[in-house]
């Protein structure tokens, strides 16, 4: 027999987490990572739109071939410590884990089955402890990572991100339909790079919109600056998590 013991321990590792949110976009480049990072900061430092109490937040960069949350947040820690498993890095009030830490800054080229294996490993060994939120920054599309999360972490709820573009909207609508059929909870969608005219999307709840923010780029790498952007101010108004 050849039994992979990691699958059996995932739910134990996540057992003290109240809510798991998969920030998903389906189309690439719509702002998933930016929203996942800033949402984590907002929840950890200021609470949510409807509650001012700060939250215990974990963030996991699951875009294994395109990790960039470490850059957005300006993470300085070199390597996660290990004790009873891997301890997420703690910076800016967020517990953070990413396969970036194990890549020595190199490009990370992984095929599908390798991606599944890395996800399993990270979920099996990361010791999150108690969290109000675990935010998952998802890669674009509905391939290995998305399917693995549905399989192993069915309690994860999807926060869908779309731009006003028909290309993005079509993909979100189709993907949301499939996810609902698979019994995945969808919190709703946020329109990013919005022109201020956010439109209904095939029965998906609009949670709010974020304008294109010319100053966002300058704030990348600095948590305090990120929180001062119009991007963060708009995101802070969005309720429903």
């Amino acid at each position: 027999m050849k039994l992979d013991p990691r699958v059996n321990i995932i739910q134990t590792r996540l057992s003290k987490i109240k809510k798991i949110i998969a920030v998903s976009g389906f189309k690439g480049g719509v702002g998933k990572s930016s929203i996942a990072c800033v949402l984590s900061l907002l929840l950890a430092k200021q609470g949510g739109a409807s509650s001012l109490s700060t939250k215990k937040v974990g963030l996991m960069d699951l875009d294994l071939t395109g990790n960039c949350d470490n850059t957005i947040l300006g993470i300085k820690t070199q390597y996660p410590e290990e004790e009873h498993g891997v301890q997420p890095v703690e910076e800016n009030g967020i517990k953070f884990i990413s396969s970036y830490f194990y890549s020595q800054g190199k490009a990370t080229h992984f095929r599908g089955d390798e991606i599944s294996n890395i996800l399993l490993e990270l979920f099996a060994i990361t010791d999150w402890g108690e969290l109000d939120y675990l935010i998952l920054d998802m890669p674009p599309g509905l391939s290995d990572t998305a399917l693995d999360i549905i399989r192993w972490i069915p309690q994860a709820e999807v926060l869908a991100i779309s731009t006003p573009s028909i290309l993005s909207r079509n993909l979100v609508a189709k993907s949301a339909k499939l996810l609902k059929e698979q019994k995945v909870e969808i919190i709703g969608f946020v329109e990013n790079m919005s022109d201020g005219k956010a439109r209904e999307l095939d029965g998906l709840k609009i949670l709010g919109s974020i304008p294109k923010d010319e100053n966002f780029e300058q704030a990348i790498g600095d948590a305090d600056k990120l929180l001062e952007t119009n991007f963060a101010k708009a995101l802070k108004q969005i309720d429903g998590f």
């Binding site: 134990t12 290990e82 004790e83 194990y102 294996n117």
Partner: protein
């Protein structure tokens, strides 16, 4: 020690199987350790002895470990190759592969065609080979 988390996964798996198969307890468990992940049997053994006490069916389980050598298969040219311990890796590289064996792709190339696109066909990481115990 991140071995602790993996030993915990092994014991939890044994506990689940013991319940499922109606075992009185788990007498013996065989675990295979992959060369790429490079978990030292002695370290795993020591941690297992501590972790096993947490689960009712594994309190007196005997652990047997064996190492599976790495077999890497190149997706580009089909070459099958291993990892030569004598070459030695930088400390950081061993650490990275210890946590995430798939990062071998970042640090090793196919010796024949120099492609970075190979997969680990054997000796990746840890798995359970056998769980033994008497039924109730």
């Amino acid at each position: 020690m991140h071995e602790w988390a993996l030993a915990d996964a092994v014991c939890k798996t044994a506990e689940d199987i013991a319940k499922d198969k109606n075992l009185i307890q788990v007498d013996e468990i065989s675990v295979v350790l992959g060369q790429v992940q490079n978990i030292k049997p002695k370290v795993f053994d020591r941690i297992f002895e501590e972790v096993k006490l947490q689960y009712s069916s594994t309190k007196s389980t005997k652990l047997v470990t064996e190492i599976e050598e790495a077999e890497l298969t190149c997706n580009n040219c089909g070459n099958i190759f291993g990892i030569d311990d004598r070459t030695g890796f930088e400390h950081q590289t061993s650490e990275d592969m210890h946590f995430i064996p798939e990062t071998a792709r970042l640090f090793i190339k196919c010796p024949k065609c120099k492609s970075v696109d190979f997969h680990i066909t054997k000796g990746r990481g840890l798995y359970v080979k056998e769980i033994r115990g008497e039924t109730k």
